[in-house]
């Protein structure tokens, strides 16, 4: 199922916030088409790790190579990575001053230099994919949380990314809206997108992930297939985490 060539490589990545060690020697590789789910208690460094992949955070040590570009201070590499990697945030971060369709058209027009009609066509295509083409001319504040998050996914897809990062995409949603977002993500996974998801949705992880990475205190504690992780966790920390999260 997963290809052979790695598209994301993290090699002993470290990140500090002042005296706080957010990431310690995190090494990881994701192959093309692979779906990786990252889980762990809050404050374990999951979000920091995923945000380092498109350099919303700068790592302090180690190397990060995405699609053949090493992330350094060189802004050309950062631009290249951000063009090829889409990201979905916990709080959607839709631009409140733009309508849904304009949210989707902004980056293709500015970054890919598409003309208005092309950008609109692409935007409508992805709005249909996330099943809300009829909301195109509304402002984000007029949509429900689930709809906003689907728009945010469509916005990232409009850049035609090769990799999608999801940073707790359902954590800010009411329970009845979680399913509609996970459905869209599952569709995306079936189509072969390379995905890295930070999430607490263990049902989604079990059905979609090729590999589960469990983090705690800034380190990768376990990396295994869902089958192995859920049935025979190797460490006490992972067992504890699973028992807490599955108890509900």
């Amino acid at each position: 199922m997963s290809g052979t060539q790695p598209v994301i490589v993290l090699d002993r990545v470290c990140k500090n916030f002042g005296a706080f060690r957010a990431l310690t020697n995190v090494s990881l590789s994701v192959s093309k088409g692979e779906k990786l789910v990252v889980c762990g208690p809050s404050g374990s460094g999951k979000s920091t790790m995923i945000r380092c992949i498109n350099r919303l955070e700068e790592h302090d040590g180690g190397r990060i190579i995405v699609n053949g570009h090493e992330l350094t201070k060189d802004s050309r590499n950062i631009d290249a990575v951000r063009r090829e990697v889409g990201m979905v945030f916990q709080n959607f971060n839709l631009f409140p001053h733009l309508t849904v369709i304009k949210n989707l058209m902004l980056a293709p027009r500015l970054v890919r230099h598409k003309n208005k009609d092309e950008a609109r066509a692409v935007a409508m295509k992805y709005l249909e994919r996330v099943r809300i083409p009829n909301q195109a001319d509304k402002y984000p504040s007029q949509l429900s949380g689930g709809q906003q998050q689907r728009v945010a996914i469509a916005r990232a897809l409009c850049m035609n990314p090769e990799i999608m990062l999801f940073d707790e995409p359902t954590s800010a949603l009411d329970p009845e809206m979680i399913a509609e977002v996970l459905d869209v993500m599952t569709d995306l996974a079936r189509e072969g997108m390379t995905m890295v998801c930070v999430t607490h949705e263990m049902g989604f992880a079990r059905s979609v992930a090729d590999k589960i990475v469990f983090m705690d205190a800034g380190e990768i504690v376990e990396a295994a297939t869902p089958e192995a992780f859920f049935t025979k966790p190797q460490t006490e920390r992972a067992r504890q985490f699973l028992s807490q999260i599955l108890a509900h």
Partner: protein, 231 residues
Amino acid sequence: MADLAAWGDDFLLGTLVVLKVFVVALIMAVIFGLIGAAARLSRNRIVSGLAKVYVVTFRGAPEIIILLIFYFGIAVSLTALVQYFDPATKFVDIPPFWAGSTAIGLIVGAYMTETFRGAFLGIDHGQVESAYALGLSKFQTFFHVRVPQMWRLALPNFGNHMLSIMKDTALISVIGLEEITFVAQMATSVTRQPFTMYMTVALIYLAITTLITFGVAALEKYANRHLRGAR
């Protein structure tokens, strides 16, 4: 009322002067405010420190003192400068229009500095992050994401600053610009009807400030159109 009618043309011309000072001072205030805000947010301690001093002095000192420093101070400086080249010069007069507009522009610019800075900091950082994640450059993020959201946040205060500029224009009569308060002083000395004359000035100001208030309210409605139906 007949006395007032006789001065109608002077009041009309005076009103035009007020509006001209308003426009010039507003443009200056926006420019000083943007520069000030950029300086206040600068990582360079000296630059942000200087901007802070600018804000504290121009907001803390009375408007009339700043105006007088500008008007008399610049006149004295210019005179000294011109006398250096041409010792025969007695005194250089500077136009009260420009001294007044610049002084008001600098004063209100100090208030705008804080408004723009607050608006800039008021934008959710996630907005900037998601623009970066989509591959927008810093420049593109500034103009397409930050500025459109900033002006909505700045608008209510901005409206108040416009009213301040309008009301501060009355001070320029003190340095002899022939705007409406000055016209009223002239008219009073002839007609001996100070209440009628100054009340006319007040009503002209009231009409203009009312228009500004309505204008800003309409702009706010436009700027907040995307919040319709927000829960």
